[in-house]
């Protein structure tokens, strides 16, 4: 019996798919799993796991959080970048924040659980917290002194034009003090929780303020990475943490700085990527060399 051409063609397609599934979907990856068992390569193929005191404590390629159970930074350790992966550095829930460059207005609600921080406020709050932890100036452009985005909703008499009639600091609610007393002669109000001033017709204006153009808290300390698992921090961010770690461990900052240098990788071949400090490896070396008192 001869099959109709269309059916014969689909059967050939199915047979081809099965042949290629066996070859490319089983033989190829499993052969590479076998290659990954070669001594020297096996550690990497299994995820570059690192051990301390005989126990596996993580992977040298995967960042981790050095905070206590309440989420507060443990001061004797160098801190990683902020992370958007699950509750932070969760490899089963990797993610970036995906918030855009003009995400600057918080959603405030009477119930704090219903409120969400804009990316700008997250950056400002992190900068303030890092500044306080490491004793440096945590101020940033477009941030208020209390660590939220310095953003105004400006109402004008004729919508987009005309004299200013009302000004609200959208990311500040009571009991805060408005970061500006007045704008164009109009006193600045605090935001009421649950209000959407943009929908009410206001223009959103970010206020730069007088913070230094190059803040002492580096960019990587206030931004979440793409993976949420970034194992590195910049040498600059490690630099501002040296004094605190030295104090906590009762040792000379110069010793700590030397250890940071030993765990800093430069650009590959001098031009690929960016210098970085592997935080887990650095902290493991700290525990070994300078155990906390």
């Amino acid at each position: 019996m001869r099959l109709p051409a269309w059916l014969a063609q689909h059967l050939a397609a199915l047979r081809a798919l099965l042949v290629f599934t066996v070859l490319l979907g089983l033989a190829y990856p499993l052969a590479l799993v076998a290659v990954g068992r070669i001594p020297g390569l096996d550690g990497k193929a299994d995820g570059s796991l690192v051990t301390a005191g005989g126990k596996t404590v993580g992977s040298s390629l995967i960042g981790q959080s050095f905070a206590d159970a309440d989420g507060n930074p443990v001061p004797r350790y160098f801190q990683s970048r902020p992370s958007a992966a699950g509750d932070g550095y969760d490899p089963t829930s990797t993610s970036a924040s995906n918030l855009g460059p003009e995400d600057i207005v918080d959603t405030t609600a009477a119930d704090p659980a219903g409120s969400t921080q804009s990316l700008l406020t997250q950056v400002c709050a992190r900068s303030k917290a890092v500044g306080e932890l490491d004793g440096v100036d945590g101020r940033r452009p477009y941030c208020t002194a209390d660590g939220v985005g310095a953003v105004l909703a400006v109402f004008r008499a004729d919508g987009l034009t005309g004299p200013v009639t009302r000004v609200v600091s959208v990311n500040q609610t009571a009991p805060a003090t408005p970061f500006l007393a007045e704008y164009r002669g109009v006193p600045v109000e605090l935001a009421e929780p649950g209000q959407d001033y943009r929908a009410a017709g206001a223009t959103i204006v970010a206020i730069r303020g007088d913070a230094p153009g190059e803040p002492p808290v580096p960019a990587d300390a206030v931004t979440a990475s793409g993976s949420g698992l970034d194992p590195h921090i910049s040498p600059a961010y490690a630099g501002i943490q040296v004094a605190r770690v030295a104090r906590e461990r009762g040792t000379d900052p110069a010793e700590i700085r030397r250890l940071v240098g030993a765990h800093t990788t430069g650009r590959t071949f001098g031009f690929m990527g960016s210098p970085g400090v592997n935080v887990l490896e650095l902290n493991l070396a700290l525990d070994e060399r300078f155990p906390a008192r």
């Binding site: 599934t21 979907g25 799993v33 404590v57 981790q64 829930s93 995906n98 460059p101 650009r267």
Partner: protein
């Protein structure tokens, strides 16, 4: 060394490597698709599949082969995901939800690799390696095969024969993709990419917390994801994940793999039509627009305009320290220029104009250099449109590499060009009309950008995302599945029909009135036609999204 110098050297080194290999590698590809000998393994495969490798196919038979193979693949992949809980290595995951399995099956078969799901918590290892990664190989091979069939249409005369789909598919898989994948996977493993079947290792961190270090056959999937310009990540965060892209030099290798085949195929075109200079003209168009785009993306990201980047001091949100701003921007431009869609940083947090450039890269129709195969046939369509436009302007006969561009040919080319803009704009309008744009994470112009980017990515078979938008709903999965399906196979049918029509013609010898299509003038005209067509089609939509946000 300054950040800018390092970033420029990174781009220059990639360019130098591509210039060095595109000729020998293109020549190798040419021998693969034009040879007449079949290896013993290939003969065995033809016997198992039940096809005669010596039989030549008309455009209709070739197209039906592509469509049958793709239809069977979609059904197989759909069933695989729906039944994964009964299979080995499922890691305890549930079957993939019906509308999601449809979307993902179409997504991987169409070389899009749009992902609505987080890989590490949705797909078991077996589905990843024997389902999704197999499509990474074969969908790439299908794209190259169709491009080769179109070039045969230019190269052959007075014949209905365009080659044999099964032979092209098998040879591209066995002689090109598989050997490079094996080599590349080992290289990535040396860098630290994982390759095991582990379901994860639970560890107690230094401060007493818990963390699960995931495993999986990652390196083997990572390499073909880049080489085949697929882009579907093993993990949710794709090539930003340290297990997919562990170091600064694996990042270089991955970008190189993305660009390798698309930039080598014009050489194959030149060899097959017997005029290498025609191939150089095509590769010049690709290189000019690609370099312009990579430069623009780097400039916008390194300048870091926008309120949050200004507050931070750099456009570093969503980017890794090891790649920093410049190497992230270069990857992002490469992945959107090639229909890959893999990401090593998150485009949603890019500056408005940087992200807008990535959007325009896709809107160019994925032709500079475009996806494997799809880039070449897309650009050849634009070259056909250019000779037609030029012919109208100066009153010369429209001809391209010895073939007349008559009304039948220009109809196929025009319809080809109209498919994706129609899908993008109708899809975006439908999302707003039905209120489904409300799943965007960001508000205002950026929310508009998220919706527009989503439809542009799906319809052009790219697969990258402004990932803040939630697309795991039935409406989004269904609509995007349709866009990917139509955006892939309508153009393929039109390309093969054009190939059939060209192959039947007798060659037209070049005369005084023929427009030379290898000179800088023609290169400039193709660049102009490409940019103008895109601008005319998409400027209003762009004005509402990235331009409104960034200006």
């Amino acid at each position: 060394m300054t950040v800018t110098t390092a970033g420029v050297l990174f781009i220059v080194s990639l360019l130098a490597a591509l210039v060095a290999v595109h000729k020998p590698f293109g020549d190798y590809l040419y021998r693969v698709v034009s040879g007449t000998r079949h290896s013993r393994v290939e003969q065995g495969i033809y016997r198992l599949v039940g096809v005669n490798p010596a039989a030549e196919q008309s455009w209709g038979v070739y197209a039906r082969g592509v469509l049958a193979f793709s239809a069977v693949s979609i059904l197989f992949l759909y069933g695989f995901m729906r039944l994964q809980n009964h299979l080995w290595l499922s890691l305890g995951f549930d079957p993939v939800i019906a509308h999601g399995a449809w979307n993902t099956a179409v997504s991987f078969v169409t070389n899009t690799n749009w992902q609505w799901y987080p890989g590490e918590s949705t797909m078991g290892h077996l589905v990843q390696m024997a389902g999704l990664a197999v499509q990474n190989f074969v969908s790439a091979a299908v794209g190259i095969a169709v491009a080769v069939a179109l070039v045969r249409g230019f190269a052959r005369s007075r014949t209905g024969e365009l080659g044999n789909f099964w032979v092209d598919l098998t040879r591209i898989l066995l002689r090109v993709l598989l050997p490079i994948a094996v080599l590349g996977a080992v290289v990535l493993m040396v860098g630290g990419a994982v390759q095991n079947l582990s379901g994860g290792t639970d560890v107690t961190t230094l401060t007493g917390g818990t963390q699960t270090i995931t495993g999986g056959p990652v390196a083997s999937q990572e390499v073909i994801k880049e080489l085949g310009t697929n882009g579907g990540g093993f993990y949710n965060v794709n090539s930003a994940h340290p297990f997919e892209n562990p170091t600064t030099w694996t990042n270089w290798i991955e970008i190189f793999l993305i660009l390798l085949i698309p930039f080598s195929l014009p050489r194959v075109f030149g060899r097959m039509v017997g005029q290498n200079r025609q191939g150089y003209a095509i590769v010049a168009v690709m290189a000019i627009l690609a370099l312009a785009s990579i430069t623009l993306t780097n400039v916008f990201e390194l300048t870091g305009n926008g309120t949050v980047p200004q507050a931070v001091g750099a456009a570093l949100e969503g980017k890794e320290v090891r790649f920093d701003v410049s190497n992230s921007a270069t990857f992002a431009a490469a992945t959107t220029l090639t229909s890959t869609g893999a990401v090593n940083s998150f485009h949603d947090s890019y500056t408005a104009l940087g992200g807008g450039t990535l959007l325009v890269n896709m809107m160019l129709g994925e032709v500079v250099p475009g996806g494997v195969g799809a880039g070449l046939y897309g650009l050849l369509i634009l070259a056909v449109i250019t000779v037609f436009v030029a012919g109208l302007m100066v009153g010369r006969t429209p001809e391209y590499v010895g073939k007349k561009i008559g009304s039948r040919e220009i109809k196929f080319a025009s319809l080809y060009f109209l498919v994706t803009p129609a899908l993008v704009l109708i899809g975006t309008a439908a999302a707003f009309a039905t209120g489904n744009n409300s799943t965007a994470l960001n508000v205002g112009p950026h929310g508009m950008s998220e919706v527009l980017y989503t439809f542009t990515s799906a319809s052009n078979n790219n697969g990258s995302a402004l990932a803040g938008i939630t697309v795991s709903t039935p409406w989004w999965n269904t609509a995007l599945g349709l866009c990917m399906l139509l955006g892939r196979f309508l153009p393929i049918i039109l390309v093969l029909a054009l190939a059939g029509s060209l192959a039947r013609q007798q060659p037209t010898p070049a005369s005084e009135g023929t427009l030379p299509t290898h000179r800088p003038l023609f290169v400039g005209m193709v660049v102009g036609v490409t940019v103008i067509l895109v601008a005319l089609t998409f400027l209003p939509a762009l004005a509402l999204g990235p331009l409104a946000e960034g200006l």
